[in-house]
Every structure is written in structure tokens, then in C-alpha cells.
């Protein structure tokens, strides 16, 4: 399955430079690092906005619906990459049809729709798997990631899509931040909330599809939510927070790929575990620094992240 072959060659020497050199001598690992880097940067940037907008549920749904897209593509004999994107973008459009609450937070009725879209999409995935007739290993590959087989042309596709998405995001970022942080004032100033929210859903869909090629449909969410949540625990400043999020994402993906190469355990496990450890550490730091600040000047307001404040 997605067990790496590095461990079969030789164990790690624990000489870091030597180990990295040995790993990068293999072409598939170079491609894995390229794809992982692109996925980490994109996931961290778009995830930061997702966490700020409290659209984790939508993000998770768009991530898992790339699975039926890919399954359908394999059944039809088209490239799985196209399937990933088609699945996520189609789901983003369906969710965009549902009326939103101004702050973008899913209420009961809307989240019932999102949940149904997710379950139905996954059910469709099982239908395609059944129609294709037994590619069980591919199922676990699609769901939990198999970055071993990232080809050169796939890396090129990933880079092109990432550049496009980030370019769109550069245009969207300011009004989106305004609309997210203070929806009422933004609406009064003529910021097109609805259009922004649909555009962001599409961006989120493309990102989810892109990241799922490296982590698998089920674990995309780790790269979307964890670096961003970590950054927002540590700072409320947008630019600094975005940079922090990207750094966290890169550290998590690179170290996970490196460790997975010398281990028999799947890469998705390392990505989500490292991400979670970083997130827990950041939460501990925030709580501790809040305590310290309160102790230092009694009566002062403790520092809170925008998520907690909201």
C-alpha cells in the first residue's frame, strides 16, 4: 500500500545531512517533496482564511468529495487529477447555492445540507468503486494518500493550479478579510459579500483537491486546519499569521515525509500527528502567556486569539 521502500533499503543513520541526501537521490521522493511543498503552502494560506471564517465543516466536506471525483475519473479512464478537481469544484458550487448566514458560520439547516452533500458524495464514490469492480488498494490510496506515485507532469499541474489559486487569493484577500472580520460594516461599504463567499468556496475546493493528491481525501483536513489553527493561536495579525501558517505547514509536511521515508507507517499518520503536536504546543503557549500577562499586570486584559475572541 503506502508503505515506503526507504526502510527496505537501509535504516536511517541519524546523520541528518546524509539521510536527507540518500532520500533525495530517489526521484519519487524529490517529486513527493515538490508536491508536498506546494500542497503545504496552499493549504496553509487558504486554511488560514477557512479557520478565520469558521468554515471548517465546509472545508472538510470539499476535501472528502474529491474522493468520488477521483474514483469516477479512474472508472471512466480519465486522469485522477482531473477527477479530484471536478469533484471538489462541483461540491463547492452546490454548497454555494445554499443561502448563507452573514458571518459564514454554518447554522443547523445549512450544515444539514453540507453534511448531506458530503455523505452523498462519498456514497457516490462507493458506487463508482463498485462499478469499476474492485480496486481496493486504490481506494485506500485515494482516501489516505499515496504520494509515492507523484509524476513529473502531476507536479507541473499542481504548481500551475497553486499559482492560479494564490493569484486569485491576492485579489480576494483584503475584501475577504474585511467581510469576514466585520460583515455588517463591509456590507455597508459595498463589499460584495455573496460573490466573495462563492469565490472563496471555489478557491477552497481547488485547494482541497490539490492537497488531497498528496494526503488522500480523508487527511487533507489536517493540512488545511492545523497549521492555520496553530498560527491563529499565536497571533491575530493577518500577514504575520499567514506567514506563520505557511512555515508550520512546511515544517509539518517536510518532517512527515522524511520520517515516513524511514518508517513503515503511512505518511498521513505523520502529517496529522506532527500537525496536532504543533497545534497543542501553540495552545499551551497561548494559555501560558495569557496567564503570565495576567500575573504581570493584574487587571490587564489577557491576550486572546481572534478565534477565541469571536
Amino acid at each position: 500500500m503506502h508503505v515506503l521502500h526507504g526502510a527496505d533499503l537501509a535504516g536511517p543513520t541519524f546523520n541528518l545531512i546524509d539521510d536527507v541526501r540518500r532520500m533525495l537521490a530517489l526521484h519519487f521522493m524529490v517529486n513527493a517533496f515538490r508536491a508536498g511543498t506546494v500542497a503545504a503552502v496552499l493549504g496553509a494560506v487558504i486554511g488560514w482564511f477557512m479557520v478565520l471564517r469558521r468554515q471548517s465543516f465546509v472545508g472538510h466536506t470539499l476535501a472528502v468529495v474529491s474522493f468520488p471525483g477521483a474514483a469516477a475519473a479512474i472508472w471512466l479512464g480519465v486522469s485522477a487529477t482531473a477527477g479530484y478537481f471536478a469533484g471538489s469544484i462541483a461540491a463547492a458550487l452546490v454548497i454555494a447555492l445554499v443561502p448563507r448566514t452573514p458571518f459564514g458560520r454554518a447554522d443547523g439547516q445549512e450544515s444539514a445540507v453540507i453534511g448531506t452533500v458530503q455523505a452523498f458524495a462519498l456514497a457516490t464514490g462507493t458506487l463508482f468503486v463498485s462499478l469499476y469492480g474492485g480496486f481496493l488498494d486504490s481506494v485506500t490510496g485515494l482516501l489516505f494518500g499515496s504520494f509515492l506515485g507523484v509524476s513529473d507532469s502531476q507536479v507541473v499541474t499542481l504548481v500551475v493550479v497553486a499559482v492560479l489559486v494564490l493569484a486569485v487569493m491576492v485579489v480576494l484577500a483584503r475584501p475577504l478579510l474585511f467581510a469576514t472580520v466585520d460583515g455588517d460594516v463591509a456590507a455597508a461599504r459595498g463589499v460584495p459579500q455573496r460573490a466573495l463567499s462563492v469565490a472563496f468556496l471555489l478557491v477552497l475546493g481547488c485547494t482541497a483537491a490539490e492537497v488531497s493528491q498528496i494526503t488522500g481525501a480523508l487527511l487533507v483536513f489536517a493540512l488545511l486546519v492545523m497549521p492555520a489553527a496553530t498560527a491563529q493561536q499565536l497571533t491575530a495579525r493577518p500577514v504575520f499569521g499567514l506567514c506563520l501558517s505557511v512555515v508550520m505547514g512546511l515544517v509539518v509536511v517536510w518532517s512527515a515525509l522524511g520520517v515516513a521515508f524511514y518508517s513503515t507507517w503511512p505518511v498521513g499518520f505523520f502529517v496529522s500527528t506532527f500537525g496536532f503536536v504543533v497545534y497543542l504546543t501553540a495552545t499551551a503557549i497561548r494559555v501560558a502567556s495569557g496567564r503570565l500577562a495576567r500575573m504581570a499586570r493584574t487587571g490587564g486584559t489577557p491576550r486572546t486569539s481572534p478565534v477565541v475572541a469571536a
Binding site: 465543516f57 447554522d107 448531506t116 481496493l136 485506500t140 486546519v225 499518520f269 496536532f276 478565534v307
Partner: protein, 300 residues
């Protein structure tokens, strides 16, 4: 009428219909309250925890159900604790369940390598847990599922009235002496048990559909809670029956797809239905009412 004939002709269909009916009943009742309380994301998280719990049990050689129920109930209690302090922060829930799912990937890999290699029984049971195999339930398993589901359904009916009150207006409910906190914890535990039992019917990944789709449809059709909760249960049971029938008649269709497909179609149908009613200018007070996060019903 012909339905009864083909069901009784195959023992495995009798088992599937029996267990399926009870599971759908419990899922419909719990799902209605889940949507009312705006906690669908918690259901989503539980559906992934169910997968990890079951695979952990398989990897360590314990009975699958033990891991399933233990994992779901433990995570449900964790959600109850987290949701107690702040109002269920979806970033925290998301981070935790993304990690739990990563653990699931590890257990899948451990179990697959420990049982006869790639594509062996390990891979099959992994996929079965994800997508369900109600047609493969043994009569004894089905009996346990029926008992568990009926216990959940009875418990929900018993606490429905105070729970709806506490969900719609927690502040007033608390001042009237309703134990809001205890009800919330109890509901999470029932949700966890439902996730465990529904995983065996439609699979870990699809149980969210059985919880959300019938409930979403019921919410669109009526604003009266005690009508809607039974409507949700009814839609879930009908979806189960028709989904199983479709899966039996068309062999290429997996049973889980049939069940979720019908439930989704009913939910989509309610959008058309309320749309038509509104166009004809007969917007009754019951139609098109939605629940906003703090529980105040408002017009769409």
C-alpha cells in the same frame, strides 16, 4: 406487496431489513436533534472516530464493536467537555478529529500488514468499516444492533421534551430548572452510540448522511418539533427500506449508496416542495423556517 415476497425469500435480507429499520429509527431521532442543536459537524467528527475506533480494535485483535463503541462514546464525552467551555469551537473539533483520522490510517496500515498483506482481509474490512456492509450482518449481530438502537430511541423519546427546550432556549431552560449541561452530555453519549451502531449499517463515512439528510428534510417540512422528530425517523426508515430494495434489485449498486441516495433525494425534494409552495403564495408559518445558532426560529 411483492416486496414482502422477495424479502422473506432471503434470510440475509430479513436480517438487513430488521437491523436497518431499528438503526434508521435511532439515527432519524438523534439526527433531528443534532440539526436542531446545530451540531452536525460533531456528527461528522464522530463518523471518522468510528473508523479509527473499529480499526484500532482490529489492529489489536479485539472485537470490532468494542473499539467502535468505546471510540465513539469516548470522543462524544470529549466533545461534551469541549463544548461545555466554549460553544463547540469547530477549529478545535476539526484539529482533534483530523488527528484521530491520522491514527486510523496508521491502524489500517498496521492491520493490513499484520493480516495477509495488501488486498487481503485487512483491506476489505477497512473498506467495509468506511462504507458499511449491512447485507453481511449475521443474525446475532443484527439482534444486538436492534437492541442497541431501540435503547437509544427510547432514551431519546424519554428526554426529547426537556432536550428540545434546552436546545431552543438554554438560558430560559436553565432558569426553569432544566439540567441543560447533563442533557447535553447525555445527548452526546447517545450520539456516540448511534454512530457506533450506524457504522455497521452504512459505514463510518456515510452515517452522517443518515443523521443529516432525513433531519434536514424534516426541518424544512415543519417547524413543530415533535412532529418533525417522528417525520425525520420516518424518512430515515423509508430511505433504509427503499435503499435496500434498490441495492437488491440492481446488483451494481452498493447498499450504502442506495440508502444515502434515497435520503438525499428526499431532502432535495423538500427544497422543490417548499419552493413550489412559496411560489403559489401559500407560505404557511410551518414551511421555510430555519433554526439559527442560538436556537431562535426565524423566517428564511
Amino acid at each position: 406487496m411483492t416486496g414482502a415476497f422477495f424479502i422473506s425469500a432471503h434470510p440475509f435480507l430479513v436480517t438487513a431489513f430488521g437491523a436497518g429499520t431499528a438503526i434508521a429509527l435511532a439515527a432519524g431521532l438523534v439526527g433531528y436533534l443534532l440539526v436542531l442543536r446545530g451540531q452536525v459537524f460533531a456528527g461528522d467528527a464522530l463518523s471518522h472516530v468510528a473508523f479509527t475506533g473499529a480499526l484500532a480494535a482490529l489492529a489489536f485483535g479485539v472485537d470490532l464493536r468494542l473499539g467502535l463503541y468505546a471510540g465513539c462514546v469516548a470522543f462524544a464525552l470529549l466533545l461534551a467537555v469541549l463544548g461545555g467551555r466554549t460553544s463547540a469551537d469547530d477549529t478545535v473539533i476539526g484539529s482533534v478529529f483530523a488527528w484521530v483520522l491520522g491514527l486510523g490510517a496508521l491502524f489500517l496500515s498496521l492491520f493490513t500488514t499484520s493480516s495477509s498483506g495488501v488486498g487481503g482481509p485487512g483491506g476489505t474490512s477497512g473498506v467495509n468499516i468506511l462504507f458499511g456492509s449491512i447485507l453481511g450482518l449475521s443474525p446475532r449481530q443484527a439482534l444486538i444492533d436492534v437492541v442497541v438502537s431501540l435503547v437509544v430511541a427510547t432514551a431519546i423519546v424519554a428526554i426529547a421534551r426537556p432536550l428540545v427546550f434546552a436546545s431552543l432556549d438554554p438560558t430560559v431552560a436553565r432558569s426553569r430548572g432544566v439540567p441543560v449541561r447533563a442533557l447535553s452530555t447525555g445527548f452526546f453519549v447517545l450520539l456516540g452510540v448511534t454512530a457506533g451502531v450506524a457504522t455497521q449499517a452504512v459505514g463510518a463515512l456515510l452515517l452522517l448522511g443518515l443523521l443529516a439528510a432525513p433531519a434536514g428534510a424534516a426541518h424544512r417540512l415543519t417547524a413543530r418539533p415533535f412532529l418533525a422528530i417522528w417525520l425525520a425517523a420516518g424518512i430515515a426508515v423509508v430511505s433504509m427500506w427503499s435503499g435496500l430494495t434498490v441495492a437488491y434489485l440492481v446488483p451494481a449498486v452498493p447498499s450504502s449508496f442506495g440508502i444515502i441516495g434515497v435520503a438525499t433525494a428526499v431532502f432535495m425534494g423538500t427544497f422543490v416542495w417548499t419552493g413550489l409552495r412559496r411560489r403559489r403564495g401559500r407560505v404557511a408559518t410551518t414551511a421555510g423556517v430555519r433554526i439559527v445558532p442560538n436556537g431562535v426560529p426565524g423566517a428564511v
